[in-house]
């Protein structure tokens, strides 16, 4: 049985919102609010200090899910689990972003596969560097969902290459 192509739409945005809020709230007991959802076409850049990326693989397309966070957010939330006496190093922050990305994608994947999208698991990797920009160069559509922990913002980015990208 063939799979249903994924669309960059409000349903996927809701899946991502739910997954991110759940991952942060359950793990760190910190409230997160979802902000606006932005759709665009072509190249896009996101800023942050740590960016967890994971591949979205499906019969009709492949794509990327990315979670970009500043070190300031990680320094705020990680002590909720690691305690206040542990110095939050870059290594610890990288480890955390990889795991948060993994938890977010795990939930999104489950939601998509319940709708017959047959998405396969990608391997997460984390890009780091102070105030880095992650730029995607492609012609398809993208979707950015912003989140807030207090005043601090972080973002998720999804792009799809393939049949459904223009959907």
């Amino acid at each position: 049985m063939s799979c249903t192509p994924i669309l960059l739409d409000d349903k996927l945005a809701s899946d991502i919102k739910r997954a991110v809020i759940n991952a942060i709230k359950e793990t760190f007991n910190v409230p997160v609010e979802a902000g606006k959802v932005e759709y665009g076409q072509g190249a896009a850049s996101l800023g942050g200090d740590m960016s967890g990326t994971i591949g979205i693989v499906q019969e009709h397309l492949d794509g990327t899910l990315m979670l970009c966070m500043g070190f300031d957010i990680l320094s705020e939330i990680l002590p909720h689990v690691l305690g206040k006496n542990i110095k939050i190093t870059y290594e610890i922050a990288v480890d955390a972003v990889a795991e948060i990305t993994n938890m977010v994608f795990g939930q999104v994947k489950t939601e998509l596969n319940q709708r017959n999208h047959k998405v396969k698991l990608g391997v997460p990797c984390v890009v780091t560097g102070n105030n880095n920009f992650v730029s995607h160069f492609h012609r398809g559509r993208y979707m950015i969902v912003s989140f807030y922990i207090g005043e601090k913002m972080f973002q998720t980015y999804v792009t799809l290459h393939g049949d459904a990208a223009s959907g």
């Binding site: 991952a23 955390a96 993994n102 939930q107």
Partner: protein, 145 residues
């Protein structure tokens, strides 16, 4: 009779965040004999050494995706050895799809935890696992085999 606070637990997960998260949840239950392994190889060594020293782990949390050896492979390795039949193996994973849960149960997992999990929910799982341990150690047979 197993008291929760006497349980000896190993958390095998390559992510420090998760090892610490599970450790905190166990500390809330006054379970203090908790150790961590960074990957599947280290987990196998620690589990075998603890058994040889006469102080085996009661519960082993295994992350599904770990470097060197996957958690599910560690589980299969020990489930093939009857002397570990009364060790509880709990799979930790971000995968919540039915086929993965079935795969873990078939491989002999005592329980299955999908991340993210809240500390209270993890606590409830520990109570269930402790009941499994009590039953397992009273009679042969168990939750999943």
């Amino acid at each position: 009779m197993n008291q929760l606070n006497t349980l000896k637990i190993l958390i095998a997960d390559d992510h420090f965040l998760i090892r610490q998260f599970v450790t905190n949840a166990l500390m809330e239950l006054k379970i203090e004999n908790v150790q961590g392994a960074n990957d599947g190889n280290e987990a196998i060594d620690m589990i075998q050494r603890a058994k040889q020293e006469g102080a085996p782990y009661d519960v082993v949390f295994l992350d599904w995706n770990m470097p060197t050896i996957l958690g599910i492979e560690v589980l299969s390795y020990f489930r093939a050895k009857p002397e570990y039949a009364d060790t509880a193996f709990v799979m930790l994973t971000a995968e919540s799809e039915q086929q993965n849960i079935m795969k873990a149960i078939k491989a002999g997992a005592t329980s299955y935890i999908v991340k993210p999990v809240s500390a209270p929910d993890l606590g409830k799982k520990i109570f269930e696992i402790n009941e499994w341990l009590k039953r397992k150690r009273r009679v042969s047979g168990g939750m999943f085999g």
